[in-house]
């Protein structure tokens, strides 16, 4: 029996050697990735959704490759954005339902750091694969070959920003029974700058313009949301648990 095995001296010295930030971050990241890989079928859902939406557009327009090529950047970006949005509702909901979210916020580490770990896990399992398969779908839309790399880079940078901003919305709506639709209403207006710069940069790449400033701008948006979003999402999660 090990009950009550702690000693009071433990507690006093504990201040000197509290659990590390990195240890908590890594454990949460590993746990979330493991959970997502346990449910492999769900892992593929955003990718299938992405591919499906991209398939629908030519069917709704015309099989004209010049037309498709001209709208491909925006089309791919909008589809990827919707795929990320679709996966956001589950970001905190399972944890909220089974109470692990409560335990996460009770950890000694600042909530923002652990929330960031969850967001990184979300990006690794949605944004990253979306960016990786995007060239495949871009070929189907006859996007010029030389802009494929830029498409992937913008999606890599942009989807991380989308995950971060989306986490705020997911955290605000996690306590609501029908939060899914509301989540889109809250988040989509905030997504517009990412969409505009993401798709715009790909367009400029097709035209052969200088891209560094626009990629730097996307990096700046990522940095800003990296600073603010985990903190805001942590505050939102606290209030969702109170409600």
């Amino acid at each position: 029996m090990v009950m009550g095995a702690f000693t009071l001296s433990d507690e006093r010295t504990a201040a000197g050697r509290l659990p590390g930030l990195w240890q908590g971050f890594a454990a949460t990241l590993a746990r979330d990735c493991r959970l997502r890989f346990r449910r492999r079928s769900e892992l593929a859902n955003p990718l299938i959704f992405f591919a499906l939406v991209v398939t629908l557009f030519p069917l709704g327009l015309a099989p004209d490759s010049t037309l498709l090529a001209s709208i491909a950047p925006g089309l791919l970006w909008v589809s990827a954005l919707l795929a990320v949005l679709l996966s956001l509702d589950g970001l905190f909901r399972d944890d909220f339902d089974d109470g692990t979210l409560e335990q996460l916020l009770l950890a000694p580490q600042p909530a923002g750091v652990l929330v960031l770990a969850k967001i990184v896990a979300h990006w690794l399992t949605t944004g990253l694969p979306l960016a990786l398969i995007s060239p495949l779908l871009a070929i189907m839309l006859s996007l010029p070959g030389h802009s494929m790399g830029v498409l992937m880079i913008t999606l890599l940078l942009g989807s991380a920003t989308l995950s971060l901003i989306g986490a705020i919305g997911a955290a605000l709506t996690v306590g609501l029974r029908r939060g899914g639709v509301l989540l889109s209403l809250l988040i989509l207006p905030l997504y517009t700058p990412v969409l505009i710069f993401g798709a715009g940069t790909v367009r400029l790449a097709i035209e052969g313009a200088v891209l560094t400033p626009w990629l730097a701008l996307m990096g700046a948006m990522l940095a800003l949301s990296l600073l603010a979003a985990p903190w805001a999402a942590g505050a939102a999660l606290k209030l969702s648990l109170d409600g």
Partner: protein, 249 residues
Amino acid sequence: MWPIIHKLGSPKWFYTMSGRWLPFLWGSGALLIIAGSVWGLAFAPPDYQQGDSFRIIYVHVPAAILAQSCFAMMAVCSVIFLVWRIKLADMAAGAAAPFGAAMTFSALFSGALWGVPTWGTWWVWDARLTSMLLMLFIYLGIMALRGAFASRDGGARAAAILTLVGVINLPIIKYSVVWWNTLHQGATFSITEKPAMPASMWLPLLLMVLGFYLLFAAVTIARTRNEIIRRQPSARWVRALAQGGRNGL
């Protein structure tokens, strides 16, 4: 600092004080708007290019300015509420939101009406109009989020957080939309950037903007007062208020 904040944050004190200001705000706001409208509609000279259709400016511009000011005011209230937990700030933010949304819609509607004679179409994806449209969606999101919570305190804090996220995002949205607009070489005609308006044109506009601000203050205060009564119908002073009719406070 602290006693002052708490005195300002006391609903009873606010109710009493604002009661004295309110008639003045209603009166002067209405007066300025009536004067500005008559001046702008009947006496200001027509624009040499746009003719009399330019008179829409006298409602379009004040509505657009108010839409943005209202958001700024809500953001300040949200900070006060989140940091100092003063509920009055939340009540004011909640009272202002529908007004801000209405002003945003008004600006869009009058902008669309103005668009027909100037651009020949109801809607153009002009940078101003587009960012205004996105701001309307953010307003609606804030209102919907507040309403979605079963607990009033939960909804209040959620709305405050979203307001702050929105206020950080609005300049970015605005900037990105402007960039997007130049990228696509769309309509570059902008409504309000006109060189050297004569005084007979901008004076009525000034009156209108001031009048709108005063009415905004009046509406927000009146709605906040209503919210106070709605939240604490059992407080002794509210009971006394209801007993004494409207002359008491």
